[in-house]
């Protein structure tokens, strides 16, 4: 009788443990899927690029690295830290982003880019493949924060002229310049 009671309580414990694990699994799943949605979405159209054709593997690498660049840029400008700029940026793009973060640190301002969608068109790919020019039409929700308080929030459609150059293992954003229109 005693052993039956012990077996029943063990079974109850197992059920509870399974339930707990199921809840944790569900929470983890929703957390990761929400994280995936929160990152920048990048679509690349390289059909009109020239004079060199953009191979599909190169397209994949550019999409991956451009998405990383925007993710890190958003993180840097929201957290006012220059660390995320190391890696995906170089040259003039890194310089002005670094200046932006430094300037924001002084004034206590920050920017938050939410729900980024980037429709990117490759417009020039150098004959030797050492530079690519992209035109990015980006949609996002931009929040300007002063000491953590949102002072301005608006939906923005922005146009960026981007120069990316290859490094040893990735494409780097060398130039990022917003324009009124292409």
């Amino acid at each position: 009788m005693k052993s039956m009671l012990i077996a029943a309580s063990l079974l109850k414990f197992e059920k509870q443990r399974f339930g707990l694990l199921a809840v944790l699994f569900f929470l983890a799943l929703t957390h990761f899927s929400a994280g995936a949605d929160a990152g920048p979405k990048v679509q690349l159209d390289a059909k009109k690029a020239g004079p060199r054709a953009v191979e599909s593997l190169t397209q994949n690498a550019i999409v991956r690295d451009y998405r990383t660049a925007w993710n890190n840029m958003a993180h840097a400008l929201e957290s006012n830290s220059v660390g995320p700029l190391d890696g995906p940026f170089t040259g003039e793009a890194k310089t002005w982003l670094w200046q932006s973060v430094m300037s924001q640190q002084k004034t206590g301002l920050s920017r938050r880019y939410v729900d980024q969608n980037h429709r990117v068109e490759a417009v020039f790919y150098a004959p030797e493949g050492d530079v690519i020019e992209l035109h990015d039409t980006a949609d996002f929700q931009l929040q300007i924060l002063d000491s953590g308080k949102v002072v301005q929030e608006e939906h923005v459609t922005a146009h960026y002229v981007v120069l990316m150059t290859p490094s040893a293992d990735r494409w780097l954003v060398r130039h990022l310049q917003s324009v009124q229109q292409f």
Binding site: P51, S100, S103, T107, P127, E133, V161, S178
Partner: protein
């Protein structure tokens, strides 16, 4: 207090766009150039907090509504979008764009650094004009590409930038030596050098004679099809076929000629080759 639209006369050059809002009119320039001062005006009265957020800049200070706000040129160094936010009871915003100034430098990429002569579409160059603040100049600019070797001009071509870039691709010249490649815009220029080297050997000819230890074979001075001497160090392979036994000796070109000693006492047929180019066959009798 003057209405914001009446402020549009200032600076003479600035056209104004009035972005009406129910509390304040923020008047921003419709065309601003990097490094040049600009003026904003915000209608209203009383104090407000002014924010300017742009590429590389993030300003915040108190202003008196109704007074012009003069932005120094160094604040507007970077081309791109600048967001003006003014907060008093509520916040209002406007955006203006700063475009690049006139070209002040050229980023000029040329490939390759070494190229064989007489090769079609072998040399290419890409040029991006930048202003003095390193903004990409997106308005069309005519870039002149010039290629010259010695006193001979190989290319003189003008190309308008499209989306801030111009490029060329052309054949290499006929003579080995330095190829000067220049991109220029007005009084700006960027120069690069491509080393043109001889192409594959052409009309490879070998001679030979018996000596005490075998057969000494050598090439005549090795040139490419344009008459340029093939660089020293280029390998010539001599192959001897003596009585059905084949042996190969590789020899580098030294001072234009490659030499090799082949051990063969009987009659031999010897040929020379360099890369994909075959030379003549040489028949040497038995000792």
């Amino acid at each position: 207090m003057r209405p914001a639209l009446l402020n549009c006369g200032f600076a003479g050059l600035i056209m104004c766009l009035s972005l009406a809002s129910w509390g304040q009119n923020i008047t921003v320039p419709t065309s601003a150039v990097a490094g040049e001062p600009a003026t904003l005006s915000i209608a209203g009265s009383g104090k407000a907090t002014f924010y300017l957020i742009g590429p590389g800049i993030s300003n915040k200070h108190e202003i008196n509504l109704g007074e012009d706000i003069k932005l120094r040129g160094d604040v507007l160094r970077n081309a791109g979008d600048y967001r003006v936010i003014v907060c008093s009871d509520s916040c209002h915003s406007a955006t203006f764009f700063v475009t690049a100034a006139k070209p002040a430098s050229l980023s000029f990429l040329v490939h390759p650094s070494r190229v064989p002569v007489s090769l079609s579409d072998a040399v290419s160059g890409v040029a991006f004009p930048f202003d003095r603040f390193h903004n990409l100049v997106l308005s069309p600019v005519t870039i002149n590409f010039q290629l010259s070797a010695g006193n001979a001009s190989l290319l003189n071509r003008s190309a308008n930038t499209q989306a801030g870039v111009a490029w060329f691709r052309t054949a290499s010249g006929k003579s080995a030596g330095a190829l000067q490649v220049t991109a220029s815009v007005d009084d700006l220029s960027a120069k690069r050098v491509v080393q043109q080297v001889a192409s594959d050997p052409c009309n490879l000819r070998i001679t030979g004679q018996r000596n005490a230890t075998g057969i000494l074979v050598q090439t005549e001075p090795v040139h490419d099809c344009s008459g340029n001497p093939v660089p020293d160090g280029t390998i010539v392979s001599f192959t001897a076929n003596a009585g059905g036994v084949k042996s190969t000796v590789d020899a580098p070109i030294k001072k234009g000629i490659a030499r090799a000693q082949i051990d063969a006492s009987g009659a031999a047929v010897i040929s020379g080759a360099s890369g994909v180019v075959m030379g003549n066959e040489l028949r040497v009798g038995a000792r």
